[in-house]
């Protein structure tokens, strides 16, 4: 390439920096016209030679409640990391609806596009009150100037009150989140997810450390969310999985081992071999 072409190439406005090239109008809502909200195709991630995900392919339908199970190290958390932008895969495609290419977005963009995540270990803002935790999670503008002058309006207060009711923390509004019990923290984090009004919820081990009653209420809540939203739950508790899910995906060594109804999956000989150790 001669100098002139090189200079021309370097000064092309659409090629200089990718932020110049960024589409000015991102679609504001996820496009689920093909009835599939999440596409993962041939996703591969390795850490120091270990293949955490090995050409994983997985589709989640709009409004579906899907459980993902698998032994430790099967790649469940890594898969969530890829979807939420925390980990970049070496190969593969990840699309949210028809229009959002997840591999070209970072964590805040993905969150704003409508994917919410609950971590395995409950992560709430320990120094803030329950109310403030929910306030910060409220769907809406996330800009620096906006938040400097933002006030809660009546509808937003009502929404926070409503979510506190749903998660059973209405009597703890002004309590510091750090002083809640483990189960309450789990609930608060689920409440924070609800405040974001995501279209796709990724929920990592929601009932770990919960009492049977709490587990039951969580199952009810997640089931009630499905339909309007899509929910992906990673869980070890088979009884819990059986109580909520119609379709179960079994991951093993970074790949989908089996997929289907819970009974079909539990009777699958391959699944019994690797997962139940038979």
């Amino acid at each position: 390439m001669n100098l002139r072409e090189t200079v021309h190439e370097m000064t092309r406005r659409d090629k200089v920096f990718d932020f110049v090239n960024r589409p000015t109008e991102r679609p504001s809502r996820v496009d689920i016209s093909h009835n599939t909200i999440l596409y993962l195709e041939d996703i591969t991630v390795s850490f120091d030679g270990f293949r955490a995900l090995d050409a994983l392919t997985l589709y989640i339908d709009a409004g579906e409640l899907r459980c993902i199970i698998g032994p430790n190290g099967a790649g469940k958390t890594t898969m969530m990391d890829v979807i939420t932008g925390k980990t970049r895969p070496e190969a593969g495609q990840a699309w949210f609806g028809q229009t959002f290419n997840l591999l070209r977005m970072d964590e805040p963009e993905i969150a704003q596009a409508g994917i919410g995540r609950k971590f395995q270990k409950p992560t709430v803002f320990t120094e803030h009150t329950v109310f403030e935790n929910l306030e910060l999670s409220l769907a809406g503008p996330r800009g620096v100037w906006h938040t400097l002058f933002a006030r809660l309006d009546g509808a937003q207060r009502d929404r926070i009150a409503e979510v506190m009711e749903i998660i059973g923390l209405q009597d703890h509004a002004l309590q510091r989140a750090g002083s809640l019990s483990h189960g309450q923290k789990q609930w608060l984090e689920i409440g924070m997810l609800l405040m974001q009004e995501p279209q796709l919820l990724l929920v990592d081990e929601p009932v770990a450390g919960m009492t049977p009653q709490e587990t039951e209420r969580t199952a009810e809540l997640l089931t009630s969310l499905a339909g309007k939203r899509s929910v992906v739950v990673v869980e070890h508790d088979m009884a819990f999985v059986r109580s909520i899910s119609r379709t179960v995906t079994v991951l093993h060594e970074g790949r989908v081992l089996a997929e289907g109804s819970i009974d079909a999956v539990q009777n699958d000989s391959e699944v019994r071999r690797v997962y139940l150790g038979e």
Binding site: E107, P108, G116, F125, T126, H128, L136, R142, T147, A150
Partner: protein
Amino acid sequence: MTPRSLLMRGGRGGAIFLAVMALLAVVVPVLNLGLAPDAALHLPDYWVTLLGKYLSYALLAIAIDLIWGYCGILSLGHTAFFALGGYAMGMYLMRQIGTRGMYGNAELPDFMVFLNWEALPWYWWGFDQFWFAMLMVLLAPGVLAFAFGWLAFRSRVGGVYLSIITQALTYALMLAFFRNEMGFGGNNGLTDFKDILGYSLQSQHTRVGLFLATVVALTLGYLACRYITGSRFGRIIEAIRDAESRTRFIGYRVEYYKLALFTFSAMLAGIAGALYVPQVGIINPGEFSPINSIEAVVWVAVGGRGTLYGAALGAGIVNYAKTWFTTAFPEIWLYALGALFVAVTLALPRGVVGLLARRKGGTA
């Protein structure tokens, strides 16, 4: 939020802080100007300047507390911004000297004549105008902090790595400002100031005026920080401190928040530096010294971080101790400072303010 609620938001500690500011604004001028020099209660002139110096340090401490106490960003180079603000003010004061310098050159400050420079370097243009110098007091630290923060926060540099880089930043600036070729007076810095806005810096009234300006700046700086920490922005800042990745997964662009806060804090530090320089009468590259930045962090730790007024209190306590120590036992000041820091870290994690709150059995 109403102005009233802003004043009350700091709790009892904040109310005491504001009351002390109001008291100083009345008592110091009255005791200094209102009483004859031989009266028993007369406040000597040097005390006015000394208090003004402490208050400008207190503003620097509040700037550090804003990013450290509320967002967990430990800057060990914040006096770089303080010194840049100071230099911007110093350049204005240099240009005011005019023909009264040793060499009587109306255009060039003495040190430039001494270096045989023919003309004023371009970066000194405009500093004969007070408004331009004041703009630079904000912009010089602000732009540096923005550029530095943009690079650091976007690359997600945090924790101890960020602290080390801020040390390197202030150290590099110190070395640069020590060079005569930089055009900022080399190791002598800028000094020999005559007047500000036409008022002689030697005059008692100007000194009281500068003191009052410092009180006002500290009060407004405090209230601005109070507004920020009380807004939703402030709650996000604290959320970033406690669970950075959670904040990101909720959809906040953490790096923009840190950048905005860091830049604002640097500008506050610049204002503090600009108030400091006319009161002490000199600015030299020693102000960039990394040890100064660490000392400023110690003030905040001693006072109690995450309260704003605690930082101001800490700046007052440590600097008064320093004034006393360096007169009584000059050799052991640094040891005393180190011992103080260790003692506070081990015994008073919430600083003096935390101790007072515990004594009272409530929250200050």
